[in-house]
Amino acid sequence: MNNDELKIKITGLFPSATFEEGTEWINISINPSELLAVAPVLRNDPALLFDFLFCLTCIDWKTHFTMVYHFSSTLYRHNLVVKSNLDRENPIIESLSHMWRTAEFHEREVYDLFGVKFLHHPDLRRLFLTDEWKGFPLRKDFEDPVNMINL
């Protein structure tokens, strides 16, 4: 499906989702509590069939976090970007690792670098940094006087 058809379909399925304008692929924003309702539909709906989660990341906008999920369908070759804003003090969101197994590692990475907690993740531990590391490096307010050189 091309972008317009996709927009119509998504609006039909999730009326509460907001769209961003002027992007290459359809970007929708949902509430973090809605993720678990939206994701299975995206995966299983026969017209959508988003079975390939190719990027899972987080952006720190000093006031809040945004979780960004990039989905693609190997059958229809259409793409979708799902975003969700999280509270910066207590970032929690459901894990998608039971539906897309690639999310297991990606969510561990986001937990390691941003501190976002993923509920029902099979094994949420730090991935790159040692288990005793304090702090979340990719946050904009991460200070490390020893190792970081601010240009």
């Binding site: 002027g22 992007t23 290459e24 692929w25 970007n27 079975d51 390939f52 989660l53 190719f54 990027c55 990341t57 952006i59 720190d60 960004v68 990039h70 190997t74 070759r77 897309w100 197994r101 690639t102 297991e104 590692f105 990606h106 990475e109 670098l113 991935l127 790159f128 940094l129 040692t130 490096p137 990719l138 601010n150 240009l151």
Partner: protein
């Protein structure tokens, strides 16, 4: 290299493989739980070469950050740079002259062949055949010599800039590449006989490490790892960039899903890359090698994503920009990261000796995974 850590109460043995390997994978630490010789669980421990490149790039300019990706997957450095440059060009909405496009693709495919040559030699060495390593490096030397002449470096070729290339190609470029193609065609038959046709090798690879198509998609595998299981995921085919849509080449798919299928995919991909180079090498158009861009690049506010097909799979660059001269957030979607996550799944129930064959066919480069 290996330490025995202790037995669990059920009589399982937990051993460490790595982080120092005699093989070429890099610093990968695997905690393998064995029951006798059978693998029950493989847990990768990453981070030995984590340099937080993504955070570093937040303080580099749009011209500078591209070259940090050469250090990520150093065997496909051209292709990684290409991906970053495409993303920046998407943001700047600049048109690339066709001369630059042709040369970028020739260098990309040469890099792919060089990466697969090294993979082939290293994998043979892991399985105990020491000679193919030297033979494959003989070809790889020819490619790195071409790179050295053109770009000035043998491994981390910082040659692609947003807008085109940093400098024009060496006048000797076409002749060197043609000589390489002749040599390659002579020796690829030797490789088939030496290793692929060897019954010992086939017995070690066939039936080892089955990856089904659904699992490959679910785990996010791309590149030859997924194509060995029948997943059609070549970015050059389904989302062509530059002039790939005008080129004639096959996407190599195998349906078996075992290690031998993944091995054959890579061997055939080398021939396909040579096919692409042959279509381009005589037809490089005249013109500029670089589009005119400002000295200090500033991407408009927004998000940009571009994907390229590296030797390992789909490499994605996601730039979030807020209008400044440095990116606000960059995420590199590295192919090795997802390919590694499937190792635990495919190695259950096999023997320890098979783990080496499986890791070899996944073609992991750890700096790519750790970033």
């Amino acid at each position: 290299m290996i330490e025995e850590l202790g037995t669990t109460t059920e009589g399982d043995l937990v051993i460490n493989i790595g982080p120092q390997h005699p093989a070429t994978h890099g610093v990968l630490h695997l905690k393998v739980t064995l029951n006798g010789e059978t693998i029950k669980n493989v847990e990768p421990h990453l981070g030995y070469i984590h340099r937080s490149i993504e955070k570093m790039c937040e303080s580099l300019s749009y011209r500078q950050f591209i070259y940090s990706t050469s250090r990520m997957d150093y065997l496909s450095s051209h292709i990684n740079n290409h991906g970053c440059a495409l993303c920046v060009e998407k943001g700047l909405q600049v048109e690339i002259p066709s001369r630059a496009q042709y040369i970028r693709i020739i260098l990309d495919e040469l890099t792919r062949v060089a990466s697969h040559e090294l993979w082939w030699g290293a994998m043979a060495m892991d399985l105990g055949a020491f000679t193919p390593f030297f033979h494959s490096f003989r070809e790889r030397e020819m490619i790195t010599d071409i790179m050295e002449e053109t770009c000035g470096a043998r491994l981390t070729m910082n040659y692609i800039v947003p807008g085109g290339l940093m400098a024009d190609i060496h006048p000797n470029f076409q002749n060197s590449v043609k000589k390489f193609i002749l040599q390659f065609k002579k020796t690829i038959g030797e490789y088939e006989e030496l290793l692929t046709g060897n019954i010992i090798f086939q017995n070690r690879m066939k039936g080892v490490g089955y990856l089904t198509k659904e699992d490959a998609i679910s785990y996010g595998c791309t590149g030859p790892t997924a194509r060995g299981s029948g997943v059609s995921c070549d970015v050059r085919k389904y989302a062509p960039y530059e002039i790939y849509d005008k080129l004639v080449f096959d996407e190599v798919l195998e349906t078996e899903g075992d290690s031998f299928a993944r091995y054959m995919v890579r061997i055939r991909e080398m021939s396909q890359s040579i096919r692409i180079i042959e279509q381009l090498i005589d037809n490089i158009p005249e013109g500029d090698f670089q589009a005119k861009t400002k000295v200090v690049l500033k991407l408009p506010k927004g998000e940009f994503y571009s994907k390229v097909e590296t030797a390992r799979g789909e490499f994605g660059v996601y730039i979030v920009s807020d209008g400044a001269a440095t990116p606000y957030r960059i995420k590199f979607r590295s192919p090795g990261f997802s390919n590694l996550s499937v190792l635990n799944h495919i190695s259950k129930g096999y023997k320890l000796g098979d783990l080496v064959a499986m890791m070899g066919t996944l073609d992991l480069v750890i700096p790519d995974i750790d970033r």
